[in-house]
């Protein structure tokens, strides 16, 4: 198993003929991802890295058959159109890689996805990688490095920073442990699958024994994970590291934002609620492998 993506996942790349699309199609294929088609309107008939290119998602599905997931690499202003096209064509999982997608576009994508029971990771995500199986997005940069950096194993990683997703996963691997799936949920305020949603998937995943989470100040994602632990919805051990201890407070939405967050969102609030719920808190990134080792000993993994 693993979550979100494995060897069988049939993947489409939207924007495959662009600079990023091309480079990441190469990474995905080289790593073992089942990339079955690409889409760039007007470039139908081409081939990129041996992948056939179509003018529309609909046409791609008609020709190559069902698509399980689409990785979107078009420039930010066009992400909404690309996402809606894929959702409309029946794709159930999207990965929205670009940074700087307008938040109102994300809200529209979310509403459409809801109606069609589709999910999306991102925007502003490095992607999802299940070691030894497949990568969706751009984690690892190149197949050689992605294979070298991330061991196969039973630890799930969920992170709000792209670079930290790779860093945590690399340091865990270097310490001799392995990973089930690593997820960069996306750096934006509104993302399709925030931490709590990823935790639900890890909880159900037979391959995952424990989870490492990197949180940041702002939003209530981490506090909601703590609530899940208290309610027994997340029973697997969780190691959490929250960034932004030194960052100044007050970079929240506004005063009205406090109504949503209800006093949550700060470094202190996240650490406190997670601790209370029984999470293991790391004070620094480099401390994570040590804590992971202790937790494994304690739980006899």
């Amino acid at each position: 198993m693993a979550i979100l993506v494995d060897k069988k996942t049939r993947v489409l790349v939207q924007g495959i003929t662009g600079r990023e699309g091309r480079a990441r199609a190469k990474l995905m294929k080289g790593y073992g991802t089942n990339v079955v088609a690409g889409v760039t309107p007007g470039k139908g008939g081409m081939e990129v890295e041996g992948v056939p290119v179509f003018d529309s998602v609909y046409e791609a599905i008609e020709t190559v058959g069902e698509i399980d997931a689409s990785a979107v690499f078009v420039p930010a202003p066009f992400v909404k159109a690309a996402a809606l096209e894929a959702i409309d064509a029946g794709v159930k999982l999207l990965l929205l890689v670009p940074d700087r997608v307008p938040i109102h576009d994300t809200l529209e994508i979310a509403s459409h996805a809801d109606r069609k029971r589709a999910k999306f990771v991102g925007p502003n995500t490095l992607g999802v990688l299940s070691p030894g199986k497949a990568v969706l997005g751009m984690i690892g940069g190149r197949p050689e490095t992605a294979k070298k950096w991330f061991n196969i194993g039973d630890i799930g990683v969920s992170s709000r920073s792209g670079g930290i997703t790779s860093a945590i996963s690399y340091y865990i691997s270097r310490a001799g442990f392995g990973l089930s799936t690593i997820v960069h949920v996306g750096g934006d305020v509104v993302v399709g699958l925030p931490h709590p949603e990823i935790m639900k998937l890890f909880e159900k995943d037979a391959d995952t024994k424990m989870v490492v989470m990197f949180g940041e100040i702002g939003t209530t994602q981490e506090e909601r994970v703590a609530e899940m632990m208290k309610k027994g919805e997340l029973t697997k051990p969780l190691v959490a590291f929250i960034g932004g201890k030194a960052a100044k407070e007050g970079t929240r939405f506004s005063h009205a934002g406090a109504i949503v967050e209800g006093g949550r969102g700060s470094y202190a609030s996240k650490v406190r609620t997670l601790k209370e719920a029984g999470a293991y808190i790391a004070e620094s990134l480099m401390e994570i492998p040590k804590i992971v080792a202790e937790v494994r000993k304690e739980h006899k993994f």
Partner: protein, 518 residues
């Protein structure tokens, strides 16, 4: 989040059909007097700054006559408020208010929906209202595909027992506020207070809207200079940096100054991060070594070498820094040789005079460190490159040691020389600059190292000299990625014939001004 001034926010409301008091923006006491005459006294004068609680700091004043408006305006204009200087006032008709309400829309990240918040009590901060009168507040999450028609607003307001004409007017206003919120790509739109006058009309007395940074490009009408939230006006250097960011869509470049003039004694360093989480972690590492960061910079998302180069030039436009620290997550997916090339080109041009520690871990880090090592002998100050197995704390320690050992203590900003094309120049335009090749020098070249260095196959050899292998148009559109490999290869192995000119508009003048001020 890019903030709008009150008068801009009100203009958005007005265009959406929400009533606002009659008013005018003025920049001088004389204009204030004229405005008061035209609007009719009594009037209220409000300072236009990005700060909350203006009334408490004396930024909101009333005037009974045009003369008084003039006098008051001369007191308010030029006032210093939380890092801002008051340059504009809004002069508005003073209304007879019967009751104050609150209406606001924010984005609920968890529901992934805009959330309307309405309170039958207004005037004070919504946090206070929520604490003291929770029963006065109703909220509603809006599905963007359904919108927020008036009947939905009436349902919501019915819970607070609004009836009759007020109910109808209020529901119209809330529905219009939502439309304004969507249309302007707002992150927050608050009317506080929303006033019911003695005559039973509804007016937005104060309003505050912030725009989504990522959507500012869709709204040139707001005249937003830098699309992000500032608690002070942007500095000149930030404006220069923002122009670079705005004009180059490849990757991210973010530059923010923490201090206007770094004092060497306080151990300020130039900080160059990559990626949000990694930058924060790296910053913690240098701060815990007793350093301060003069700026915060982030180049990430696989930026071209040219962007990293410009970032370094801008960071090095801060006199008084004593070191340069570049570090990201350590395990970056982006191609790190781009960062290395951008940095060494900048450091050579600047004749770097302060030590630099560059932690370029991740994809292609070996190549990146190799580049740093190959060029370190052409850079006056000490530079050291590190990778993913070297923690940020260790790298910060290295910087501390280099600074201790170093001879040059404080960075001096150099003047930028004008670019003069050589006589035998062959050149072509790139996306943001120009590649200039001195073909006379190429005549003596035995290596022609530039062509194999260019992995994008932009160059080829014709008659023993490098020329474009693709059309000029394609090169200018981005096929030449400005990776700087040809220039650096030519520098090491050839005749130093290639120069890639990457202008940074305004930086030359800025540095000249610095020199004059010194």
């Amino acid at each position: 989040m890019a903030r709008l001034y009150e008068y801009q926010s009100k203009e958005i409301l007005r265009k959406s059909g929400i009533k606002i008091p009659e008013g005018m923006v003025v920049i001088s006491p004389e204009e204030a007097k004229e405005a008061a005459k035209k609007i009719g006294c009594p009037v209220v004068l409000k300072i236009q700054v990005w700060a909350k609680g203006r009334a408490e700091i004396g930024g909101v004043k009333f005037a009974e006559t045009p003369e008084e408006a003039k006098r008051t305006a001369s007191e308010l204009l030029g006032m210093e408020v939380k890092n801002f200087r008051v340059e504009k006032l809004l002069v508005e008709k003073k209304l007879d208010v019967e009751r104050e309400l609150f209406a606001g829309i924010i984005i609920d990240d968890y529901a992934k929906k805009p959330m309307l918040i309405f309170s039958s009590i207004g005037g004070m901060g919504i946090e206070e209202i929520a604490k003291e009168h929770p029963e006065a507040i109703v909220t509603h999450r809006i599905d963007v595909l359904e919108g927020f028609p008036e009947y939905k607003a009436r349902e919501l307001l019915g819970k607070l027992k609004f009836k009759g004409r007020t109910l109808v007017k209020l529901s119209g206003t809330l529905s219009k506020l939502y439309k304004a919120f969507r249309k302007s790509d707002a992150r927050v739109a608050e009317i506080n207070p929303l006033a019911i006058t003695k005559e039973g009309d509804l007016f937005a007395l104060d309003c505050h809207i912030t725009i989504d940074d990522y959507a500012v490009y869709r709204h040139p009408e707001f005249g937003i200079e830098i699309a992000r939230e500032f608690d002070r006006p942007p500095t000149e250097l930030e404006k220069i940096a923002y122009k670079v960011e705005e004009k180059d869509y490849r990757g991210t470049f973010y530059f923010f100054q923490m201090v206007k003039s770094p004092i060497p004694k306080e151990k300020y360093i130039g900080f160059h991060g990559a990626g949000g989480g990694g930058s924060m972690m790296s910053m913690d590492a240098v701060l815990s070594r007793g350093f301060k960061t003069a700026n915060f910079t982030d180049t990430s998302g696989n930026p071209p070498a040219s962007k990293v180069y410009r970032a370094a030039k801008i960071i090095l436009s801060q006199p008084g820094i004593i070191g340069y620290f570049a570090s990201g997550s350590g395990v970056a997916s982006q191609e790190q040789f781009n960062s290395a090339r951008g940095l060494v080109k900048a450091f050579m041009e600047e004749k770097l005079d302060i030590p630099a520690v560059l932690r370029l871990g991740g994809n292609y880090e070996e190549k990146a460190i190799e580049i740093l090592e190959a060029f370190s002998k052409f850079i006056p100050a000490k530079i050291e490159g590190y990778g993913r197995d070297d923690p940020p704390e260790f790298c910060a320690e290295r910087l501390a040691n280099l600074i201790k050992e170093g001879k040059t203590k404080v960075h001096k900003v150099r003047k930028i020389q004008d670019y003069t094309p050589p006589k035998g120049e062959y050149s072509f335009k790139t996306l943001t600059g120009k590649v200039s090749i001195d073909h006379r020098a190429c005549a003596n070249c035995t290596t022609q190292a530039c062509v194999p260095a260019c992995t994008y196959e932009v160059l080829k050899i014709r008659d023993g000299k490098p020329v474009l292998a693709i059309s000029e148009e394609d090169a200018g559109k981005g096929k030449c990625t400005e990776c700087l490999a040809c220039e650096l290869a030519c520098f090491l192995h050839g005749e130093k014939a290639i120069h890639i000119y990457l202008p940074i508009p305004g930086l030359k003048e800025y540095r000249e001004k610095l020199a004059r001020e010194e």
